[in-house]
Amino acid sequence: MTERRPADLGVDVGSLRLKNPIMLASGTVGYGEEIGELVDLSELGGIVVKGLSLEPVTGNRPQRIAETPGGMLNSIGLQNVGVEAFVRDKLPNLRRYDTRVIANIWGKTVQDYAAVAARLDQAEGVHALELNVSCPNIKEGGISFGTDPKQLHEVTAAARAATSKPLWVKLAPGVTDIGLIARAAEEGGADALSAINTIRGMMVNVESRAPMLSTVFGGYSGPGLLPIALYLLFEIRKATPLPLIGIGGINELEHVLQFMIVGACAVQIGTANFYDPTFSSRVVDELAQWCRNHEIDSLAELVGSLRLPRQG
């Protein structure tokens, strides 16, 4: 190992520069308070806060999680303090850190999204908005925004109109053609795409014969999601030139690198925050070391550097 100047880990997600590509994923770090006791958030590229809605939300009744082989299910039900309380009570603490704060937002109608986006457009210290579109549109028969290109376009455009901040759309798996969905978000005005959110899963308690989650099924996250997320990112990369943020199952440096090689300019760590809470800050160091060992001066060299095999 040669002694060289530290690699520059900075990356650009569209117009937003991150000091490094490691972010914390929405729903796995609350609003940064508790995790801030374990990890210096200023060492990370960014933190995406728990999905915010216009009003506070109580969430689903317990049992809200279940373990699966190599992963977990959750059905938190998007419990959150609401956008006002976030801005008032949570954001001041987050502003203390030298990192990017991304507000994950959701709603039950297009108007909800637009209203939350408009409120956060004014909020100092929120650097980007990320739309969680894995929620049912109650005005359109409960079909999830993220599975229907038309609705996704509409909700993205509405949020786009409500804010001048960078707008990321977080895609849901579980669709036949993710490229179509990605293009709908692009055309709706997204600045970047995050992929992916949890995929639906279920587990059953064989003694009680009841589903393990109160909601029957829930969102599957963790290591078992990794190959699915990498594949979907690959498909999205083919469909749109937008900057991509890779999410799903990351718990090793190698996973970060895989996402970046496929085409992500940054990544988010989710479930790993639960079972290895200091992984995110550790992997920043590991990434710097890897770049030095591989004489990589800028991570841009890595992003999308996938070598496809010859056809044959």
Partner: protein, 271 residues
């Protein structure tokens, strides 16, 4: 709260299902309060994925200084089975101490009555020590399915805390529920009493009925599946009364595991 890779110092089996894992960890030992817990990794890999919540059982001391802690584990599923195979020298990832702790009775003259079922006994010997140091008369009621499920009796005996035991199958102590023994005891009590309970939910609910009926303060330590243990995943919630007279979810890992029982809603408000 500290996130550490600790070396397992010692393993001691209490019976075929229950064992004590002891760790050297001065910072955690100094910080830990009775009733708090830790998240312990059962493996370094992805199966099982999540860490397991375990109450602080003992604070280990050397020359009067806290230098370590132990947990008392009952083997029930995948994670605790892996833990039962751990050996001294193994490295274990540990996060803690976490959550709220038992508070001694507000009334300095009150007697503390500790009611526990099965491995719910784990946090109480440490708390009993604190109660005795604070001058509270203390008494333990230990319930279990069989004599194998009665835990910590020796710990209380060593502290001089009187113990009443009950088993469902009559294999040790009273035959029947520990709550029956508790009711009987409380019937003969005059002075102020504060109740503390930890164990299966039906037991804690029954204890709460007994405490409420007598207007006695009651602190409970709850359990729920936990992903993070620090309050960020919102998986471990329990409905509780809120300031405005309605209800809200409270996180067992953060606002709990120890709650004033009067703040909890044993029936879900949506039912």
């Amino acid at each position: 709260m500290f996130e550490k890779r600790l070396t397992l110092d010692a393993v001691r089996f209490l019976n075929s299902r229950c064992f004590v894992l002891a760790f050297h960890a001065p910072e955690i030992a100094r910080a830990a309060r009775p009733g708090q817990f830790l998240m312990l990794a059962a493996s370094d890999g992805i199966e099982p994925l999540l860490r397991r919540p375990m109450a602080v059982y003992q604070i280990l001391e050397s020359s009067g200084e806290p230098v370590g802690f132990s947990v008392l584990v009952e083997r029930t599923g995948k994670g605790t089975t892996l833990m039962s195979k751990m050996q001294a020298g193994d490295e274990v990832a540990v996060l803690g101490p976490l959550g709220s702790s038992f508070a001694p009775p507000g009334d300095a003259t009150a007697e503390a009555v500790l009611v526990m079922g099965g491995v719910g006994a784990a946090p109480f010997p440490l708390f009993a020590r604190a109660l005795l140091e604070a001058g509270h008369t203390t008494r333990a009621f230990i319930g279990g399915r069989t004599s194998e499920h009665l835990l910590c009796a020796e710990d209380f005996a060593a502290l001089g805390v009187p113990v009443t035991q009950a088993t469902d199958d009559g294999s040790a102590g009273h035959h029947g529920l520990v709550t029956a023994a508790l009711t009987e005891y409380l019937s003969g009590c005059d002075g102020p009493v504060a109740i503390y309970s930890c164990g299966p939910t039906p037991m804690m609910r029954a204890v709460d009925s007994i405490a409420s009926a007598r207007g006695l303060p009651h602190q409970v330590s709850l359990e729920a599946p936990m992903a993070c243990g620090i309050g960020v995943c919102l998986s471990c919630v329990v409905p509780a009364v809120d300031e405005a007279g309605g209800w809200r979810y409270r996180r067992i890992c953060r606002e709990g595991p120890v709650f004033d029982a009067s703040t909890l809603l044993w029936e879900h408000p949506d039912d």
